[in-house]
Amino acid sequence: MEHELDDERFRALIEESQDLNSDAMKAANEPLNGIVEVGLERRAQRGYADTVREERYERAQAQRLLVMAGVAVGAAGLGALAASPAYAQGAAEDVAALQTAASLENLAVLTYKTALTLPYLMKEDRAIKTVAAFAKITMEQHTEHGKAFNARAVELGGKEQTGTHPELTPVVMAAVPKLKAGGPLDVVALAITLEDTATSTYVANIMSAMTSPEVRLLFGTVAGVESQHLSTLLAVQALLKGGAPELITVKETGGATDAAKLPGAAPSIAIPETFKKIDLARKPAEGAVK
């Protein structure tokens, strides 16, 4: 049975989230429109779609030039335009990284979806309602992240990744029996691992010189959200372990948390790294479409 989260304020939050999601590509495009400062000023006043069209045009022009050069000066001329294969290689690497990212998002969606069927996440107490609400909204956000990564992969000439991450999916599947036999802390622990993995992977991709500015920005706008999922889950985990589940609540699920009762160290526990570590980062091409 699907868990009923019928609180009026929570419904409002879900609706707000859905509104956000319906505007997700718009929201994604807005920051993408901002990447105009490194030799891209001429694109500053244009929309993202224009930028993409321009890139496609330039790519086509480069290919035409390559052909023309081949006709005019033969093989030697082609050698002089070796930058084009390099461009193609870079785009291919970006596509692979985007597909891998989509596979991580798809896996996160699957995991939260599975978690929401667990009986102990269908209870009516406020903490559980809040955790379930978080799972539902986070699942929606991951869905939109996956769409954004796939949209960019397709724009760069790749295919959509509709599958889940090949290396991590068996790990999650193996954890399902433990989730069924366990409790909220088991779900939270698994979610922490997935959110940290996604954040770390995207941060590593940004740090890599292989990705284009546009792709880096997309990874940045998503990593900043995954890191918040991670932080929230760490706080929830600390409060559950600390025996203070009643503090796991937000306005929309029955009332704001009582800040005066929050353990002093709780906020710090939720932000354990001064610089985001990337130990859990997955290889960029691990989830590429074969």
Partner: protein
């Protein structure tokens, strides 16, 4: 629920987790600092290459002063908050600061890469200024809290958060400044000049803990948006390492502040770069030139 006092239990457990967290903090910072040192070397390398490859005597002279000027600038240390561009105006044309600022402005740059290095320096200066602003705000809050500015008492979690966030922002500022210093540019030790007056005014108007948390949320989201935007503009891989590893932490600060405020902690599907209000409160991604280094 148990018979034991849940908060007492949680405090004990959380103290242990805090200890672990502080160890992680101490372990992580030197690694990033080292990485940013590499970044500074990389920027200096770009400037040196610019000088070596130029047939122009003036450019050569500028370049030949780079190493010495780098040392001079480094010797200025934290006492001189002037950005590299400002320092160059009072220095001899052949000084290293001139080389750095020329590259920063792109005026003497024959290649996009040197101009990119200059933009990176400007961006890093702005980033350091944002971190200084956050440190200033948290420090002021911690100083004013005992005087009753925010009410009779400040919840322990809020006070601890302020201390923890301030410490992390100090480390972020140190990291950005380390990169600037090694690159031969001046450290930026003042709060963001474009925002300082606004923040001081807002801080003066704060009368309670929620108001304080809202101001902190605005600063965290502003820093996060700035660094995320730079992910699409920075040219040096090592500069990207800095913003890539720091931006998620600022966003985490924002999530916890939202939770303390009673708001949903992850209100946005994607990081927003524009000015926002409410639970996404932000002054918007700041331009690279915000610190006055152009």
């Amino acid at each position: 629920m148990t018979d034991r006092d849940p908060l007492q239990i949680s405090e004990a457990e959380l103290r242990a987790m805090t200890k672990q967290m502080n160890e992680m903090h101490a372990e992580t910072f030197p690694v990033l600092h080292e990485s940013l040192g590499d970044f500074g070397s990389s920027l200096r390398g770009k400037l040196r290459t610019l000088a070596e490859h130029s047939a122009n005597r003036r450019t050569f002279l500028i370049g030949s002063g780079a190493a010495l000027g780098g040392v001079l600038l480094a010797a200025c240390g934290k006492d001189d908050p002037k950005p590299a561009a400002s320092k160059s105006s009072s220095a001899a044309p052949s000084s290293a600061s001139s080389a750095a600022s020329s590259a920063a402005s792109g005026a003497a740059s024959p290649s996009g890469s040197a101009g990119g290095a200059g933009k990176d320096i400007a961006a890093l200066s702005t980033n350091a200024s944002l971190e200084n602003l956050a440190v200033f705000a948290y420090m002021s809050a911690l100083a004013e809290a005992p005087k009753g500015k925010f009410g009779k008492s400040v919840p322990p979690a809020v006070a601890e958060f302020a201390k923890h966030a301030m410490m992390q922002h100090k480390d972020h500022a140190a990291a950005f400044n380390a990169a600037l210093k090694i690159a031969g540019a001046a450290e930026f030790t003042k709060p963001n000049p474009a925002l300082a007056d606004t923040v001081i005014k807002l801080f003066g108007e704060v009368k309670d803990v929620p108001g304080l948390a809202q101001l902190a949320l605005t600063l965290e989201n502003t820093a996060g948006a700035t660094y995320v935007k730079q992910m699409g503009t920075l040219t040096n891989p090592d500069a990207l390492k800095a913003v890539a590893t720091i931006a998620p932490v600022e966003r985490q600060h924002a999530a916890i502040l939202n939770f303390v405020l009673g708001n949903y902690p992850v209100p946005d599907v994607f990081v927003k770069l524009d000015e926002q209000s409410g639970s996404s409160a932000s002054l918007g991604a700041r331009p690279d030139t915000d610190a006055g280094v152009s």
